[in-house]
């Protein structure tokens, strides 16, 4: 009876999910350590995911503590599959298209760095053929946008309205106006409706913000190219702008026209009330998309480990292997560029214009990083999510192409969003109290890139989403679709699991309340003290109210100078001075935040990259050990509060709701909440290959500790 139908194995199908093929008696290795331990089960492939249904765990009550409601432990969404290898006579071969021979083993490498080993030796030949070609076909070959599971899900799902969360989506004029108001940018910038009906460009959002002096006519002239588009305004009035550049033009006439146009634009926005303008041509000063893709491809390889032997073999040369991937160096360069931009805005009071051909790749990373560093609202959960909406989702980052979700063109692939998350992670680990979210939040966000039930990361632009939502060619019954947004975390996680996305160390910004003034005399106290009220933070919290004076002064004290200072002439010293002087002062977690970018400070995001590797687990260790203690203590304090309130009102005591998730924290794995403690024994992990030659120190190696002839001692 068991196994003759997916339902029998309690498979959990999503709405709109269809079974495409299946294979029985597939053996899944728990971990390739030579012991060949594993379980039998059924391997299935649907239009949503590849899934292994464990025959033994049907009645298993041992639910993991941190569970994704949609993607189980043995589920791989089709978009999450990175590469598939077949094993033929102990030899690994990459599987891409048509197969002539069918492998005895299947290895699936996932984009979230899980590695699955499936043995097909005991499976019927027919089933092997069907499952292997099915998996390869559905996950590795080009597909049409409309064939994404996103659409099946949206058309089948009941009204997914969900509670409106606090994230600003930036799909209305109102959202942009609010953002302008929040940052006091509305003095010099305006939200425009010129792109309604996508008259200007399909890459640009429906609504965006430009300098007040820019005319509708100029916006339309070159489909929005050459127009400075507002990202954010600093408290001193300086603004961060981006602009998509003109492509290299063969025609002299055209390029003359473009040049004249640009000169005009520059002149306009360099006149008062605008400050100095600095231009940053990102494509010439940062690694290219190709460089980023190459680096990440090498980097991720270090974590896609087949077995324990591999782990220890790469361990000896770990640092040079890491370095040779160049990934950490790329992170460093982006962080450094963001500091440079912050310096212009903050210290030189200068507007910064980021230039890139499409202004939707490197621009997104840099503008987001600058805002995370300079605007503490971007370090709250809703602020960060709004930022991603503003700069990436409506900003027109081509998620579909950059993630290669449709397998249309490998050359378009580049992990820019992941690069941003890794850069933000560096800041999170350097300044834990400054962020409302945790590294776990960043990790699950990076995983969500491959979950095709949210529209957030599955379109190239707002235009593409709009046209596909309404479904212009309404041949079928489907549409208009109601897509889910990834920011509704309740779709993926239960409240208990969602708690792990919030940082217990976050020092919430205090409201300037007169009664509090006296207690905030000491600077360090103000920075780190406990949040005083359980306020529901407004998504558009007032921003630097006290700074308005400053702003007015700046506008009155107009400065007219050279209108463009090319950043490449800029003396390096100015950066270093800014960086050093900031680092010599105590940190204000609600103020400007600059990452340390010295070699030892740029680290590997262990939670994301190492989480599935059992050898890398520290049972009872890691930062989770201290975080768990803090959570426990917070819980205790909370229950004391309740008790005190009760004593006061002398009410009948209620039970305090406890969060038992982290109890017994001493035994949590350092990779919590991701890794399950697969290694049952408490045996330590022992390196299998340890030493390599110290070629250059041969003479020292051979020496004895002390030059004493012991043979003389013996009488």
């Amino acid at each position: 009876g068991r196994g003759d139908g997916a339902i029998g194995l309690s498979v959990c199908f999503c709405t709109g999910e269809l079974l495409l093929c299946e294979a029985n008696t597939v053996y899944k290795y728990i971990q390739e350590d030579g012991s060949n331990r594993g379980t039998y089960g059924k391997l299935i492939c649907t239009n949503f995911k590849i899934s292994f249904l464990d025959e033994d765990s049907a009645s298993d009550d041992n639910e993991p503590q941190f569970k994704n409601k949609i993607i189980g432990e043995n589920d791989i969404t089709l978009q999450c599959v990175d590469q598939i290898y077949g094993v033929y006579d102990e030899k690994k071969k990459l599987l891409t298209g048509q197969l002539r021979k069918y492998p005895e083993k299947l290895i699936i490498y996932c984009k979230d760095l899980r590695v699955f080993h499936f043995c097909l030796r005991y499976t019927k030949e027919e089933e092997v053929k069907r499952i292997v070609s099915g998996i390869v076909h559905h996950s590795q070959t080009p597909k049409l946008l409309k064939r994404l599971f996103l659409f099946s899900y949206a058309s089948a799902a009941p009204n997914n309205t969900g509670g409106r969360n606090q994230t600003v989506m930036f799909d209305t004029l109102e959202d942009w106006r609010d953002e302008l108001e929040r940052t006091k940018g509305n003095v010099k910038y305006k939200a425009v409706v010129t792109n309604e009906g996508y008259r200007v460009s399909e890459k640009l959002p429906l609504y965006f913000v430009v300098p007040i002096c820019v005319s509708e006519e100029s916006i339309l002239k070159f489909q929005g190219r050459g127009i400075p588009i507002w990202c954010w305004s600093c408290h001193n009035g300086a603004a961060l702008l981006k602009m998509s550049a003109f492509p290299k033009e063969q025609d002299d006439n055209t390029s003359q026209m473009q040049k004249a146009f640009l000169d005009g634009i520059y002149r306009t926005i360099s006149n008062p009330p605008y400050e100095l303008l600095k231009t940053e041509d990102l494509s010439s000063s940062l690694p290219s998309l190709q460089d980023i893709q190459t680096a990440y491809t090498r980097f991720k390889q270090l974590f896609l480990i087949d077995n324990s032997t591999d782990f220890w073999a790469t361990d000896v040369k770990w640092f040079s292997l890491l370095e040779s991937t160049n990934w950490l160096e790329i992170i460093r360069r982006f962080l450094k560029k963001a500091i440079e931009v912050a310096e212009c805005l903050e210290r030189q009071n200068s507007n910064v214009l980021l230039i890139e051909e499409s202004a939707t790749d490197l621009c997104c990373v840099i503008s987001s990083l600058v805002q995370v560093m300079m605007d503490s609202y971007s370090r709250t959960k809703s602020g960060f999510q709004s930022l991603i909406q503003k700069e990436w989702v409506t900003g027109g980052h081509s998620f579909l192409d950059r993630c290669n979700h449709l397998h249309k063109n490998d050359k378009e692939e580049a992990p820019l969003f992941l690069l941003l998350l890794d850069c933000v992670w560096q800041l999170v680990q350097q300044y834990p109290p400054a962020f409302e979210f945790t590294e776990t939040y960043l990790t699950v966000l990076s995983d969500s890139l491959y979950v095709p039930i949210f529209s957030t990361f599955f379109f190239n632009s707002q235009h593409q989403k709009d046209t596909n939502t309404t479904g212009e060619s309404l041949k079928t019954q489907s549409g208009p679709f109601k897509f889910l947004t990834v920011w509704d975390w309740s779709v993926q996680f239960e409240p208990k699991a969602q708690a792990l996305l919030s940082n217990p160390l976050y020092a919430e910004k205090l409201k300037p309340d007169k009664s509090q003034r006296k207690t905030t005399r000491f600077k360090h106290q103000r920075q780190l003290s406990l949040p005083l009220t359980q306020t529901k933070s407004s998504p558009k919290r007032g921003f630097f109210r006290e700074e308005t004076d400053h702003l007015i002064k700046n506008i009155l004290g107009k400065r007219i100078g050279k209108f463009i200072i090319n950043s490449s002439d800029e003396p390096h010293n100015s950066f270093k001075e800014f960086y050093d002087s900031w680092h010599s002062k105590p940190v204000d977690y609600h103020g400007l935040l600059l990452p340390s970018i010295d070699g030892p400070e740029i680290k590997v995001w262990a939670q994301r990259y190492l989480r599935w590797i059992p050898e890398a687990q520290l049972p009872g260790g890691g930062t989770i050990a201290t975080a768990a203690k803090i959570l426990d203590l917070m819980e205790e304090v909370q229950s004391l509060q309740v008790k005190m309130d009760e004593e006061h009102s002398q009410a009948i005591s209620r039970d305090v709701q406890a969060v038992p998730m982290l109890r017994n924290s001493a035994r949590l794995s350092s990779l919590f909440p991701f890794a399950l403690l697969q290694r049952q024994s408490i045996k330590p992990a022992l390196p299998t290959s340890t030493w390599k030659d110290l070629e250059d120190e041969d003479d020292l190696v051979k020496r004895d500790d002390e030059f004493v002839d012991l043979s003389g001692d013996m009488s």
């Binding site: 409240p495 909370q638 390196p687 190696v701």
Partner: protein
């Protein structure tokens, strides 16, 4: 301190010093003393030299730059430039320190201005080379705790349940007659007589016979330490030694073989035969199983640290940080030491087999391995006091040659005996505490303080090579113990996250993926490397602890008043949530 911000824990500024009998030897008030700070550029200042330290205070700078260097830290003093040297600030002194920094002072070229300062410094930084006593013998500080009382070998063995029917305490070494580098009190198999021990001593390098370091409370397997057997080229054997090892094997009733861990690489152990040493051969010891742990010698470690200093001081290597770090091999050595210790601990704990650990002499690598394995197996050693006992026992009493390895007060900076073995050990402990942040009672500051006073010569703790010399020099009578300082201010060295766990073996992961450079120690002089002191995570926890205690106190008060009051009377008082802050949680 080379940085403008004086670290929090450095309370011993010259003005507010609690150290007694600090004599002012030299005060260089000429404004032309320039401290060539590698981070902030030349700094004019005033230099004071006492019998304990070199102290510099900048003039005309804001913020004030202060340098505070115990003379014991100085490894080498060189004159740079000559009277005719050209160029600004080219004439002066160059001081190399043992704690990962160099100091450079520029002076005026006229009138041999550096002669006095050079002479005073040389004499007092290297007292042993000038027939002067260490500063520790002049120090008259007072502490509320007496650190010399921390370690009592008898108490420690009793804590381990010794002696018992299989292991006895012997006083054969009471006057260091058996082995002058061992402590006077030793624990040996009950079935071995003192006469046997003497015979075994003849076959072990420097008479360092196998003795017990630690016994597993449940399975009775033991960790033994010793030096290499004197096998020599001819492959000598010694029946007494062979029998002695068999007695050890049998002592916990095990049937399996005794495991011998030779800390050295195989080739080095073989090479040692040429000088009379060697290792236990299978022929001679059929009941033993020998493993080499491939840990390199003191010279390799010294060179490795030298390379590390090159890439972190004064500037952190920028372009190729990771490969530069790898090329120093420092973390690779750490990995090997930890791997060795894990094997020792695992063999005793899950393999239930007694182990014998040695290297060549059994006072460097052996001390690292036994004390790390003990730290992994016995949670007592993870407390402040337990760790002090561990260092006192496995390192100080068993003759790790601190004087030779550190070169206390000795001008011979190039001495081949110097090696950062103890530093490497503390680094291993730090790696463990980093991997298990709740498992240790002590914090990072505790480890850094130990290392600072490893060099400072302010305490007698790390002076001299062995217990016998220390006894002769009357160290415990005439000097203070470092543990007095630490135990008098325990809260400063306590890890707030410490969670007591009994009998839990703690195995670090000896993988490069987890090993990190100890930035707060090796790069602490660089103001660009941020040291968030106090650590914000720790601070938050402390705040919560204070809040909890406050709530508990208030709650108790409330309960008392409520119990004594008639009902209804409390209606007038404000709710506590109006009176005090509520903790925001995110559930």
């Amino acid at each position: 301190m080379a940085s403008s911000s004086t670290p929090k824990y450095n309370s011993n500024s010259l003005e507010s010093s609690s150290i007694k009998r600090v004599k002012m030897l030299y005060c260089f008030t000429d404004k032309d003393v320039i401290y060539m700070c590698p981070f902030n550029g030349p700094v004019k200042g005033r230099v004071y030299i006492t019998n304990y330290r070199l102290y510099l205070r900048s003039v005309e700078t804001d913020p004030v730059v202060v340098l505070n260097v115990p003379l014991g830290v100085i490894s080498r003093i060189e004159k740079m430039g000559g009277a005719s040297s050209r160029g600004e600030n080219s004439y002066g002194l160059d001081i190399t320190c043992k704690d990962m920094r160099n100091l450079r002072f520029a002076l005026k070229q006229e009138g041999h201005s550096r002669r006095d300062i050079f002479e005073v410094l040389t004499k007092h930084a290297f007292p042993q080379s000038h027939n002067l006593p260490f500063f520790a013998f002049a120090n008259e500080e007072k502490f509320s705790e007496n650190g010399w009382m921390v370690y009592n070998p008898m108490c420690e063995y009793r804590r381990q349940g010794l002696p018992n029917e299989r292991w006895r305490v012997t006083f054969i070494n009471e006057h260091y007659g058996l082995c002058d580098t061992y402590p006077s009190l030793l624990v040996v198999p009950y079935n071995a007589t003192d006469d046997d021990l003497k015979k075994v001593a003849a076959f072990r390098s420097r008479n360092r016979i196998p003795v017990l370091s630690w016994i597993h409370p449940e399975n009775q397997a033991v960790i033994m330490r010793c030096s290499q057997p004197l096998v020599g080229m001819s492959g000598k054997r010694n029946k007494d030694d062979e029998r002695y090892l068999d007695i050890i094997r049998e002592a916990n009733g095990q049937i399996s073989k005794l495991t011998i861990y030779d800390a050295r690489p195989n080739v080095n152990a073989v090479a040692n035969k040429a000088t009379g040493g060697g290792y236990e051969s299978e022929d001679a010891y059929p009941n033993a199983e020998l493993f080499f742990l491939d840990i390199h010698n003191i010279h390799v470690m010294r060179e490795s640290l030298k390379k590390l200093k090159d890439i972190v001081y004064p500037n952190v290597e920028e372009s190729h940080w990771l490969s530069s770090l790898e090329s120093t091999h420092w973390l690779e050595h750490i990995k090997l030491v930890l791997t060795g210790a894990i094997q020792v601990a695992d063999k005793v704990s899950s393999g239930r087999s007694s182990v014998l650990v040695h290297c060549s002499d059994g006072w460097d690598r052996t001390a690292q391995l036994t004390s790390l394995a003990m730290l992994m197996l016995d949670s007592y050693y993870r407390t402040i006091e337990g760790f002090e006992v561990l260092v006192q026992k496995e390192w100080i009493s068993f003759g790790h040659k601190f004087a030779s390895r550190i070169g206390h007060g000795d001008k011979n900076h190039a001495d081949a005996d110097r090696s950062p073995i103890f530093l490497q050990y503390i680094d291993c402990v730090w790696q463990m505490s980093k991997q298990f942040p709740t498992a240790f009672e002590f914090n990072e500051q505790f480890l850094i303080t130990i290392l600072d006073h490893l060099y400072s010569c302010r305490f007698g703790t790390f002076l001299y090579n062995s217990e016998s010399v220390r006894e002769k020099e009357k160290v415990t009578e005439k000097t203070l113990s470092l543990w007095s300082l630490i135990n008098s201010e325990k809260s400063k060295f306590t890890n707030p996250f410490y969670t007591k766990e009994l009998n839990r073996a703690l195995y670090p992961v000896a993988s490069m993926r987890h090993l990190e450079l100890w930035v707060n120690y090796y790069i602490r002089w660089n103001p660009r490397i941020r040291q968030q002191q106090p650590n914000p995570v720790e601070q938050r926890y402390m705040e919560l602890l204070a809040l909890r205690d406050d709530y508990m106190r208030r709650l108790e008060e409330l309960q008392i008043t409520n119990n004594s009051k008639i009902p209804n009377s409390s209606a007038s008082s404000a709710s506590p949530s109006q009176m005090m802050s509520h903790v925001q949680t995110h559930f």
